[in-house]
Amino acid sequence: MSGGLRERLLRLRSAADPQAEPAAAVKPVAPSASGAPQDPPAAAGAADAQTAPADPAADAPAEAEPGHPAFVRLGVRTKSNAYGSFLLRTVEYPLEHRHGRYALGELLERAKHLAPVSARQNKGNDSALRLPVEPERLLFLDTETTGLGVGAGNVPFMIGIGWIAPGQGRFVVEQTLIRHPGEERAMLAHLLARMAERTHLVTYNGRTFDWPVLVNRFILNGWRRAGPEPGHLDFLHPSRALWRNTLESCRLSHVEEERLGIVREGDVPGSLAPELYMRFLNDGDADGLEGVYRHNERDVLTLAALAIHFGTLLSPLTREDPRGQEVPEGAEELYRTAVWLEAHGALDKAERLFALLAAREEAQAVRWWLPVAARYKRLGRLDLAVPLWRRAAERAERAAVPFLDAHIELAMHYEHRVKDVAEALRLAERALELALRRPPSRSDPLRARQLREALQRRIERLRRKAGSRSFDQPAGPEDGEDDLFALRQG
């Protein structure tokens, strides 16, 4: 039976393109006589960068460049070590090089402030927790892989790494490429050598993607990791914390454009990289890879810019540091930034941002007053919370779709702390009126009804209290409070 199917497979096979060369990888690498490596074109936005043969590591020097004109243009060279060879491209940037808003050299000052991020992201990795965050010990890393997911069959064909070398006044980007899967070991060995000198991997989603994929490759090549796990600084998580609602997406390319002032022209999207690499594997044409190289190089630089950005956010407030005092424009971003700073121990800066948010008057800011006031209440700062609730309540009265939270908070405040039952009753009645003015909730009609009923009970109780007070009797149990509170919290 399988004989028939075999024939069909063969028939199918003969229908396939007979020109396609199955194994581009066996294409001989002709040593090229063409001249010195060129600078990357200015369009890449890196006019001051130099592709350089310079190799700070002590291993064998880079060898002759492989033949394809694209490789020549890019300054790609063959690199060998004890495990074989692969292609290596090195680009160096002066520290003054600006990538968007930031100059790469700013890393030297800002990196150390990332310690709280490291502390949060490396819980359970004691060795990484003990290490300080030092600029020259960070390895920026971004891989291009043949597929999605972290399964055993996903191969990183390009590893882009970067680090700052203050001694040489340079920021170095290295990009490895394997011409066929057989070169993987040599490439991985190179990466491990680079990692050996450094403490943290700086990535965008590297904790759950790039690094696990690389670990797969070590294991598949028969290596077992010895020694400590690297520390991680993965900026996907902080980016989400700040921008998950305010930016359309938290993809790196979007974040850098919206927040780091980086504009990429003619960028090949990362999602195309696997296809372009397959094409290279199949027909040996490296032209398509040029875009992948550029894209990956920019990603590595952007990682440095992100590190500077978050390091700047976490830098202590000083008059001499105008950058460090910058404040996000949008109210939500302002709020989320403040929360993030607070979670990372930058209390002064967080306090300042919360206060700035409370002082904002624009309509979008009002809904963020409530969590800010709730925080003040939690901290026992009623002197700050009450005026904010007052202002919020005023705004609620005027809103087309009024919210009740400020009234309810104030009602509770007047009932329990100020013991002004009359004022509490007035606020609760206002809240009920506002509740009735709200258009019927389509998403959660049940909750809206429960909220109204809870308000009604509160009002009745307050009325009883107000009435009984005149007879000088103790107030009854405050039965209405918990459910109302719980409802609003839910």
Binding site: E7, L12, A20, V150, A152, P181, G182, R224
Partner: protein
């Protein structure tokens, strides 16, 4: 006092009452009694760890049954083992004993357990955990399946001594991510495969390939585990195990477990119209027997062939006994129920709170529902092995049990019930797999390449691996570099390959009567006929009408209704022959075997009144057609054979013959009746002659049609005997079909056609 409504204390007493009722006994065509069997035990092995001995003793296990001791010995000798014993014979100890003994001595060792379903895996973990606790040993057992929370997965991967999972999970989650399971694969000592008989047909062929991949990964990590298998009774356990794991296997089958007396009663519903050969409905008779058993307090399981039957029987039974027992004490059980509901029913059965259950073969597997007292099979389950398995659900170690096989009017049932020797004289079926089905093999070569690059000289399956790899390389799925082949697609191959036909593509049933609630699911293949728009879908005895079928999204929206009918859908099938591989011309027949494509499209559905089963209306079904590329066998009749027959005669003769063959073929192939299809055509588009086609209902074929090509003569002889031996006048549901379908002359025409088929009888 009516003895049937009083509570009978034992099955024996109940059977005595049955024997005293001539009107019931008239329907009993055969009564087989298997005597009680005493236990055969041997002392615990000397070397056994004291902790293990004490733990077993505290559970009342002081000695081992012979088969448990034999399998322990074989495992300790380093052999791959398959243990074959009936239901409830203590077979889990056959593998747990050597595994625990080893783990107690070597904390770094690991074991991987495979069960065909999640439910079985959970039972197993509970049992192992109990033993580990009794021993106060630090042996961690975990299930790893789709329900395992992500937070504990890592701990299981690194620290679980025994990981219990299913082949699907191994295929799509563990093997493709083997680098996360280094600890397991480096140290795996034992691989336990229980319910081995479940891995047959297409599913088994896939699983055999998953095991090839598993062994390949183990080799990569330097481990060489022993396989410990257990199976229900099949004819070829040893051969099956060897094909599945690709290694020589020692067989242990000296069952030493005791069992009570077992009665197997063949019951044929009475003929209500002799001329038309119509018998009373097997559903009604099964229901009657089950109700009598349940009313006497006997815990009973009823097996029905289809989901619809299950629901119909359930409705009837709940209605009948609701005054005595309450409807909640009779439950349904089948594939489409959600896991939570199933667990609840299993618990109720074990505790005895649920007195009766109506099930599809979903309960045939070793899910722990305790041992029931009586079993009613509504229709022959399709294989001897399945019949014994289902019957094994009733049977306690020290008291009697009874199984009724209630024959339906289909020819196979009638054949069996009238030829009990066929059933009792034959060993149960073989489990067949065809792991080298090219499409299945190719799928797993892809998965394997994803997991680990292939190297020149490697073996994988029975086909020439290098050809397959080259083929995949040209398809640009793999990339050849030197003498290695690497996975080079962006996609993750296991995601698109389901081990169970269409299991991945279930349609969910959403009840919109009050809000939106998912009440069940239906596999893709059944969807066109079960949940087309306007279909009546039965769930837990409640009727729902399908209001909207969202085919692309795989959702059916239903609303509760109360109508007096159910629905039955028709499929139109077109066949196109692609390639003839083998051919034989003899006498009036041209017989051919080859490849064909099948196009199936649901056409109309009928509304059939409950209880009377009369047709009360119909409507169209608008759904896309499905294509199947498979292997088939067909034979065409020459002009001589057709002589003197009108086209209409030929139509009836072919239909009659096909009706017989559709039931006989699975019997001879020993496969599930759903795996093989029969289609008669008066003028085949391929041969232009009257033709009967068979085809495998699986892409690429699984060797069934090929077998039919080989056993053609035997099959035809059997068909002739069945038609001649049937007592009806001119065709009945038990042979060529009812006269409404094949006409008044159907039986004679079919016999004539058979005779003319070259005098081969």
């Amino acid at each position: 006092m009516n003895p049937w409504t009083g509570k009978a204390a034992t099955v024996e007493e109940w059977l005595d009452m049955l024997r005293s009722r001539p009107e019931m006994m008239a329907n009993v065509t055969y009564w087989h009694t298997e005597p009680a069997r005493p236990a055969r035990t041997v002392p615990m092995p000397e070397e056994l760890d004291d902790r293990l001995k004490r733990a077993l003793a505290s559970k009342g296990i002081e000695r081992l049954y012979t088969h448990q001791a034999s399998s322990y010995r074989a495992v300790r000798e380093g052999k791959h083992v398959v243990t074959v014993t009936p239901t409830a014979s203590g077979k889990t100890l056959c593998y747990n004993l050597p595994v625990l003994q080893h783990l107690l001595a070597d904390d770094s060792a690991r074991a991987l357990y495979l069960f065909p379903t999640k439910a079985l895996a959970q039972d197993q973990v509970a049992e192992l955990q109990e033993l580990a606790d009794l021993m106060e040993a630090n042996i961690k057992t975990h299930t790893y399946d789709g329900d395992t929370p992500p937070t504990v997965r890592q701990a299981i991967r690194n620290a679980g001594h025994i990981v219990v999972t299913n082949p699907d999970m191994l295929h799509s989650a563990i093997l493709p991510h083997h680098t996360k399971w280094v600890k397991l694969f480096e140290n795996v000592r034992y691989i336990v495969i229980d319910e081995l008989h479940a891995y047959r047909g297409v599913f088994g062929s896939h699983v055999a390939n998953v095991i090839r991949r598993l062994k390949r990964i183990c080799r990569f990590y330097g481990s060489n585990p022993q396989f410990l298998c257990a199976s229900a009774t099949i004819r070829n356990p040893q051969e099956h195990a060897q094909r599945l794991i690709g290694e020589p296997v020692a067989l242990v089958d000296d069952n030493g477990a005791p069992s009570g007396e077992k009665h197997m009663v063949f019951y044929n519903p009475p003929v209500v119209n002799r001329q038309l050969g119509i018998r009373r409905s097997s559903v009604l008779e099964s229901q009657k027997l089950a109700a009598l058993l349940l009313k006497s307090g006997i815990q009973t399981i009823v097996f029905a062939r289809s989901r619809v039957r299950v629901e119909i029987l359930l409705t009837y039974l709940q209605d009948l006994v609701k005054h005595e027992l309450g409807a909640k004490s009779i439950r349904g059980y089948r594939g489409g129920y959600l896991p939570k509901l199933r667990r609840e029913i299993e618990r109720g059965l074990r505790s005895g709170e649920i007195r009766g259950v109506v099930s599809t073969n979903a309960l045939e597997l070793g899910i722990d529902i305790g041992q029931l007292q009586a079993c009613v099979l509504n229709g022959y389950p399709g294989s001897i092995a399945s019949t014994w398995q289902q019957s094994g659900r009733a049977g306690r170690r020290h008291s009697s049990s009874v199984t009724f096989l209630v024959a339906s009017s289909n020819p196979l049932d009638q054949y069996l019930i009238q030829n009990p020797d066929y059933f009792f004289g034959r060993p149960p079926e073989e489990a067949r797999i065809h792991p080298d089905n090219l499409l299945i093999l190719l799928d797993h070569v892809k998965c394997a390449a994803y997991e680990l690059p292939f190297e020149a000289g490697e073996q994988f399956g029975g086909e020439k691996l290098e050809d397959l790899l080259e083929f995949l390389a040209e398809e640009k799925v793999l990339h050849r570099s030197g003498d290695r082949w690497y996975w080079m697609e962006q996609a993750f191959p296991a995601n698109n390959i389901s081990l169970r036909s269409a299991a991945q593509e279930n349609f969910v049933i959403i009840d919109t009567t009050d809000g939106h609630r998912v009440i069940g699911e239906v596999d893709r293949f059944s969807a066109p006929t079960l949940i087309h728009e306007e279909a009546i879908y039965l769930h837990e005895g409640v009727q729902y009408q399908v209001e909207k079928l969202d085919y692309p999204e795989k959702k059916a929206y239903v609303r509760q209704v109360n109508v007096d009918y159910f629905t039955d859908a028709n499929m139109a099938v077109e066949l196109k022959v692609l390639h003839v591989d083998r051919e034989d011309r003899s006498g009036a027949l041209l017989r051919q075997y080859g490849e064909l494509t099948v196009t199936a499209r649901p056409t109309i559905f009928k509304k059939i009144r409950l209880r009377t089963h009369e047709n009360i209306g119909s409507g169209p079904i608008h759904l896309p057609e499905e294509n199947l590329h498979t292997s088939g066998y067909w034979f065409s009749f020459s002009e001589e054979a057709e002589e003197g027959m009108t086209a209409n005669d030929m139509q009836m003769a072919l239909l009659g013959l096909a009706n017989v063959l559709v039931h006989l073929a699975p019997l001879h192939l020993m496969c599930d009746p759903l795996d093989i299809r029969v289609v008669p055509q008066v003028k085949s588009t391929f041969s232009k002659r009257p033709t009967i086609y068979f085809y495998d209902r699986y892409p690429g074929g699984i060797g069934l049609s090929q077998r039919l090509y080989e056993i053609h003569d035997e099959l035809m002889a059997e068909a002739g005997r069945l038609i001649s031996g049937c007592g009806c006048l001119s065709g009945c549901p038990a042979c060529v079909g009812p006269i409404e379908e094949v006409g008044l002359l159907g039986k004679e025409l079919a016999r004539k056609l058979l005779d003319r088929a070259g005098g081969r009888l």
